[in-house]
């Protein structure tokens, strides 16, 4: 059994069902991301893993051991909190030492561990300061140091970067990733930021309304989203969703796209999976980067540019297809100004199709 296994865990507060049957299993050394909008239950799940709350039903296994009835301190875990939760009246050294003190680690050993952790996180010079004398980034570092000192089999990170400014967040993200590479410990990481999820995770569990929508590798989730929600949540700018009808034309299955009065039938590659859905309302999902600019081609559409958003390497071009706003990520040299027309060709080989009613992926 892996480092962490969650089996059919539910959590109810009275009539409110926070978690509705969660199943997750990861291997030792993996980096698991729990991602989802606020209120999806990810923090509750985290607390259950930590033992700070108990599940209504189901089991939590850590390191192959059923820990439902094990106190948080005995689960061999460490946690980094969103607010860092540093003890305000203790200096950094005492903050790190507190847990070891409680566990009865000899003083000498404590000092060694603190020295090692401080060196690893380059915060030797902060050891005698109080949390109130530290910057946000430094506090974050101390909070991680406190977790590292524990040397647990499982690290829990509860949105550790969301209180930092953008630049620092990127830096710390990298640092956490490096740390993971170096230490090879198992990490469970809660975030609502999909970029963090993509960049850090070995495995991502996308949650909504107390249910795991999809559990898989970042690439899986990006390319093969299980449903409309996952597709919309992961990726920035978000995937374009174009309502259309699935039709058959000349023996091929496809959808019709319209722009500026012009209509094109686009044949879809995964025809085999779609046979049963012919005639249904579907939603075509195309990521912004799956558009190419062409001079003229049978499958391309003339689109009028409404707005451009240059980001440097790319330029986002907003236009309309089938009456909905669509964003295309283009090379700056291909982008046209607002009011001008650009011919776009969707690359449907990677496009996905959702059932308009169930929002589940068809292909």
């Amino acid at each position: 059994m892996g480092a962490l296994a969650i089996k059919n865990v539910t959590k109810n507060f009275g009539d409110t069902h926070i978690l509705k049957g969660i199943d997750i299993e990861i291997e030792s050394g993996q980096f698991l991301i729990l991602v989802g909008p606020s209120g999806c239950g990810k923090s509750t799940l985290m607390n259950i893993i930590a033992g700070l709350e108990s599940p209504s039903t189901g089991e939590v296994h850590i390191g192959g051991r059923m820990v439902n009835n094990v106190a948080p301190k005995d689960r061999d875990i460490a946690m980094v909190f969103q607010s860092y939760a540093l003890y305000p009246t203790m200096n950094v050294r005492q903050n790190i030492a507190f847990g070891m003190e409680t566990r009865g680690v000899p003083k000498k050993e404590q000092d060694e561990i603190i020295a090692r952790v401080a060196k690893m996180l380059q915060m030797d010079h902060l050891l005698d300061r109080k949390p109130s004398q530290l910057s946000g980034g430094q506090r974050q570092r101390v909070a991680m140091g406190r977790a590292l000192a524990r040397d647990p089999i499982l690290f829990l990170f509860d949105e550790p970067l969301s209180n930092l400014d953008a630049k620092l967040r990127v830096e710390m993200r990298t640092e956490i990733k490096q740390l993971h590479h170096r230490l090879k410990t198992t990490i469970v990481y809660v975030t609502h930021d999909q970029i963090e999820a993509m960049t850090l995770g070995d495995k991502i569990a996308v949650m909504k309304d107390g249910v795991i929508q999809q559990f898989g590798s970042p690439q899986d989730i990006y390319e093969q989203p299980a449903n409309l929600f996952v597709a919309s949540f992961i990726g920035s700018p978000s995937m374009n969703f174009i309502p259309c009808h699935l039709a058959e034309q000349n023996g091929a299955l496809g959808v019709s796209l319209q722009s500026e009065g012009e209509a094109r039938f686009i044949a879809l590659p995964q025809a085999a999976k779609l046979v049963g859905a012919v005639g249904k309302k579907v939603i075509l999902g195309i990521r912004p980067e799956q558009f190419d600019v062409v001079i003229d081609s049978g499958d391309s559409l003339a689109c009028k540019v409404h707005l451009t958003e240059p980001t440097g390497p790319d330029t986002m071009v907003l236009t309309q297809l089938n009456g909905v706003e669509v964003c295309a990520r283009l090379h700056p040299r291909d982008a046209k100004g607002p009011g001008e027309t650009v011919r776009l060709q969707p690359d449907v080989s990677k496009a996905v199709l959702f059932d308009a009613e169930t929002e589940a992926r068809l292909a």
Binding site: A50, P72, K73, F81, Y87, T89, F98, T102
Partner: protein, 282 residues
């Protein structure tokens, strides 16, 4: 801000200060006058000379009934009453606040509401039942009885103060400490208490003044040798020989007020600071 308004602002503040200081001024000035000066002047007139005779008399010589030991014994009674009462009620309040904010359980909110309502009951309601109960416990008319009464009826406010303060301490701190292996008591002693200085100051000051100044419980639940200073003062001020010695009355009043005034002068800033730190939240 224009100069004129700035001036008006200070003027308003000074007028207010005079209003607050007037009774104190009258008390101090009268206490150091002799009776002749009091008769000759009016209540604001300055003394022609300073005399602490009245203070001495109020402290150790003024008579109530056949007892002429002044306020001194009552003062020590109050000290012996106020110290344990304040410490016990503060400790209990801190523990209650800690549980009610950080270790909630089914029914804890209801318990809080029940305790909180205790702040508001008119104390006249409890006098007779309390007297009987203290009799049962064998601590009627003793300092121990008074301490008990003050602890019980101080609980509601101390609990409220601490609970409201602790609510503003993030729960994550408790979670972190639990992951660090600390239990209920260790978290309280090592994490919560060190963070509580502002609110402890508020509660100590509050309880000290409340208990020191109490008259109702004092007059009802004390006997000859356990009377607190407010009762002693009342006896003294209402004991009238044919000449009312205003200077002795005022000195006695000031002696009775001195501890609380000193507390406010020297610790008042902690009081305001503590209130700012969350005691009045919500």
């Amino acid at each position: 801000m224009p100069k004129f308004w700035r001036g008006a602002l200070y003027a308003a503040l000074l007028v207010a200060a005079l209003y607050y200081l007037l009774p104190l001024y009258v008390m101090v000035i009268t206490s150091i006058k002799t009776m002749d000066q009091i008769r000759a002047g009016n209540l604001l007139s300055l003394p022609t000379g300073i005399s602490f005779e009245a203070w001495g008399k109020a402290w150790s010589g003024a008579c109530t009934g056949v007892d002429c030991s002044g306020l001194q014994p009552f003062f020590w009674n109050s000290i012996r009453m106020v110290i344990p009462a304040v410490l016990i009620s503060t400790t209990l309040g801190a523990l209650n606040g800690y549980v009610l904010s950080k270790w909630r359980f089914r029914g804890s909110e209801l318990t809080f509401a029940l305790i909180l309502f205790g702040v508001f009951i008119p104390f006249q309601v409890v006098l007779l039942p309390m007297a009987q109960t203290l009799g049962w416990f064998g601590i009627a008319n003793s300092i121990a009885g008074l301490v008990t009464v003050h602890v019980i009826y101080g609980l509601a406010s101390t609990t409220l103060f601490f609970r409201n303060y602790y609510v503003s301490i993030p729960d994550e701190l408790i979670k972190a400490a639990r992951l660090d292996g600390a239990g209920f008591w260790r978290i309280f002693l090592r994490i919560i208490i060190p963070m509580s200085t502002p609110i402890i100051m508020v509660v100590l000051i509050w309880q000290f003044t409340q208990i020191w100044n109490d008259f109702l419980f004092g007059v009802v639940f004390s006997a000859g040798d356990s009377k607190p200073i407010t009762v002693g003062l009342n006896n003294l001020a209402n004991t009238s020989t044919s000449v009312k010695e205003y200077n002795v009355d005022m000195s006695a009043a000031l002696i009775a007020a001195l501890p609380t005034i000193l507390v406010y002068v020297f610790a008042g800033k902690y009081f305001v600071r503590g209130l700012t730190a969350g005691a009045v939240k919500g």
